[in-house]
Symmetry: D2
Subunit: 139 residues, 4 copies
């Protein structure tokens, strides 16, 4: 398994009139989590795009456990639990300042050739960087 | 079953550099769909809030079938397939200008007393307005 | 002068914990106002883009007179007070349900050739459609 | 004068189909700049709110000099050039990774008593923390 933690400060822009982060702002946090998880691995999403790979979202599931509040410094723990094939699945566990789990997102993306817009397998560069993190599982 | 159709024009604000509506903007469309579905029924969410009822989101599942593109006039078909109890489940089917199904969202919300922040059953006003739409199923 | 009125319903997504529309959401309303003003004139911004013209924003001034609140149906009155040259200036007057002026935005955009990214004069199609609305001023 | 620098990574959520940060996202950056500038001074906006002070925006002017692009790490230099009275004016200078000035925002906010919703003078806590940064000017 590979995982990486990013921080996110809840902004006034994010919060609704209940005083909670608006439910539609969590996907922005998942994006930050997975892009920073890839960057920490040595893969920049902007380089993938420039090399002709797009990663549109295919499916997303969100569980809202407790609200996030204005100005809280959240922790986004982004996990890759399986090696990607034609899909890549990121799990985002979000904790508040008391380290309580407040939200879980599970986002499935596919790899597209940005010219043909056809689905392609996971680029070798991602697999190469991920394999050491999954090595122990294979013996 | 009760359902209601709303329109949504995709704005420049919504679209990312793939030329697709950003995946995190769909929850805004579900919100429009369910608020307008309730309004068409005679229930204004702002009145519910003023009477002390909040409806935070508990769970959301999204399936991205095809991208929505800039300036497309989308159709949001918001469906209630079961009568709410302590939860209410809205299904949002989104179609593009060619009436192709491009996205499905399924959003579960709970009812909270905004003072105690405790879960309460579905307010009578919603049930009363919904019951005629579900009557045929019981007889 | 040319002007056009669009409606905008304030959404939960737009409102902050003061119960006011977040100050950063007004540019979305100006966008709606000017795109619909052009559409009413017979010019679709998406067609301009496809023909190789971009209209990035050069300057924006916003005056916040009174807050907009959740679920209000606002009126965006988008005005063009002068014929565009290399710049086009849209004034957005926003009124609430009581028709009180609550906000004024003034947005200056330029025209770019999307290939060279150089500034170009206002496309002929826009000028042609606008001229009848400015004719009286010239005699 | 008092100034403080914050970083902001441009996200996919922020970028439009020109590949530029959407013009309406800059106010979020100004917000980050001024809230972090106050925090660095020892004043948390969330504490101000809890003590009954709101700071709604009264006016905003934005100059778009060059576009910000996806994944760039921007620098937000938030400046207070005068001591606040009933208004506080923040200037946000935004630079890209090459340290080129790409954007300037100037945001005027007022102080409100959140109960009466009347304008009040700048809270003493802000003035007290700012005064040392302005002392040299008065002598």
């Amino acid at each position: 398994m590979y995982s990486h933690i990013s921080d996110y400060r809840v902004r006034y822009a994010d919060v609704d009139q209940m005083g909670y982060m608006y439910y539609g702002n969590y996907p922005r946090l998942y994006e930050i989590g997975r892009v920073e998880a890839l960057r920490a691995l040595g893969v920049r999403y902007r380089d993938l795009e420039e090399s002709g790979v797009w990663m549109p979202v295919y499916e997303n599931n969100s569980r809202y456990i407790r609200p996030a509040q204005y100005d809280e410094l959240l922790e986004i723990n982004c996990k890759l639990e399986t090696l990607p094939g034609t899909r890549i699945i990121f799990t985002s566990e979000i904790r508040n300042e008391e380290k309580a789990l407040i939200h879980v997102g599970r986002t499935t993306l596919v790899f597209l050739d940005s010219t043909t817009r056809k689905i392609i397998p996971c680029p070798g560069i991602i697999l190469k960087k991920l394999q050491p993190h999954f090595a122990c599982e294979t013996g």
